[in-house]
């Protein structure tokens, strides 16, 4: 039976403990988050005018990497849209940028992008897109689509997602000679020694590096990862909240498993 215990949760960061499962399952979840959870990003850029020091492709690349937040749930993937992926109001959002400088140069930020849909805006307002000199002009139209990380990293909803085994540290205070070598060796300050009494604080910080085991000459410490309990960490780029990312990933995993089951049933299996 899989159980989930949330340790820390904010829209941008999430940490939970998956227990009663295997690393294979955690890895499936990780890979689905990385490559299958849809995220909005600028895909097409129509440049009307650009006489800035930057080339058109440089601009398009930077625009693509800007994380967009969409609070509307109505958008669908272009492949599944009625329009066939051409870009209609059901599957795309258009943003426009038009800036012109007079005698002084300026930096163009993401806040200068005007979105057609007020619900869809860049996550950060202060990302510099280009820098313009005097008497320069940029007019462009950017079309954002939903996409998946398999096609391009800009569609990845997370910056990092990873897991590690839950540390299990056994301490034998009877063997301790109070040398404090283990405490000094630990890079994460997990161990504490006081009057020959070994203890741990915030065990989740332990990264199983075994430095304390090597430092201890009395063999009082053993560190190992427990295989059926996994610490899972998700860090969002801001486009989708971490909780929704994980739920969406679970949904996709279920869909894929059902699809696979259906395919298996069609096969003429030998009995």
């Amino acid at each position: 039976m899989i159980s989930v215990r949330i340790i820390q949760q904010t829209p941008d960061d999430m940490m939970f403990i998956l227990s009663g499962t295997t690393a294979a399952f955690a890895n499936t979840l990780r890979r689905i988050i990385l490559s299958n959870v849809p995220q909005l990003a600028i895909e097409d850029v129509i440049i009307v005018e650009n006489n800035s020091p930057f080339t058109d492709e440089f601009l398009a690349h930077r625009l693509g990497l800007i994380p967009l937040r969409s609070d509307s749930d109505f958008l669908v993937l272009p492949d599944e849209c009625e329009c066939g992926g051409v870009g209609c109001s059901l599957c795309s959002v258009t943003l426009t940028l038009s800036v012109e400088t007079a005698d002084e140069g300026m930096i163009v930020y993401t806040r200068d992008l005007e979105s057609q849909d007020p619900m869809t805006v860049p996550v950060h307002q202060e990302i510099p897109i280009v820098q313009l000199g005097p008497q320069q002009k940029i007019i462009l139209e950017a079309v954002a689509f939903l996409g998946i990380g398999k096609d391009h990293v800009k569609f990845q909803p997370v910056a990092t997602v990873g897991y590690q085994f839950m540390p299990s540290i056994t301490l034998d205070s009877n063997k301790c000679s109070d040398c404090k070598e283990c405490q000094n060796a630990c890079p994460r300050n997990v161990l504490e020694v006081e009057n020959k009494q070994l203890s741990t604080r915030n065990i989740l910080n332990c990264n199983l590096c075994q430095l304390c085991v090597d430092a201890c000459e009395d063999d009082a410490i053993t560190v190992s990862g427990s295989e059926d309990s996994i610490i899972f960490r998700v860090e969002s780029t801001g486009g989708i909240d971490t909780e929704r990312i994980v739920l969406k990933a679970a949904e996709i995993l279920k869909e894929q498993a059902l699809e696979f089951e259906g395919l298996l049933k069609e096969l003429p299996l030998e009995k």
Binding site: R62, L65, H124, Q125, I127, P128, A159
Partner: protein, 69 residues
Amino acid sequence: MIILLIPVRCFTCGKTVAHVYEEFVERIKEGSEQEDPKEVLDDLGIKRICCRRMLVTHVNLVDDIINFY
């Protein structure tokens, strides 16, 4: 390759770093209110070494070339 403007995302992990660049530069500038870059990065939420090097090692070359356009 010459990187003219601060990259939008970290090359390694993909975290957005460009939005804190100007605040970072402002806060570590020499002067009475100069802060330790290490603490500024921690405060801005840039925790990993890969993202930190994006900000620490960037040289904003646009400022130099913009005069020739």
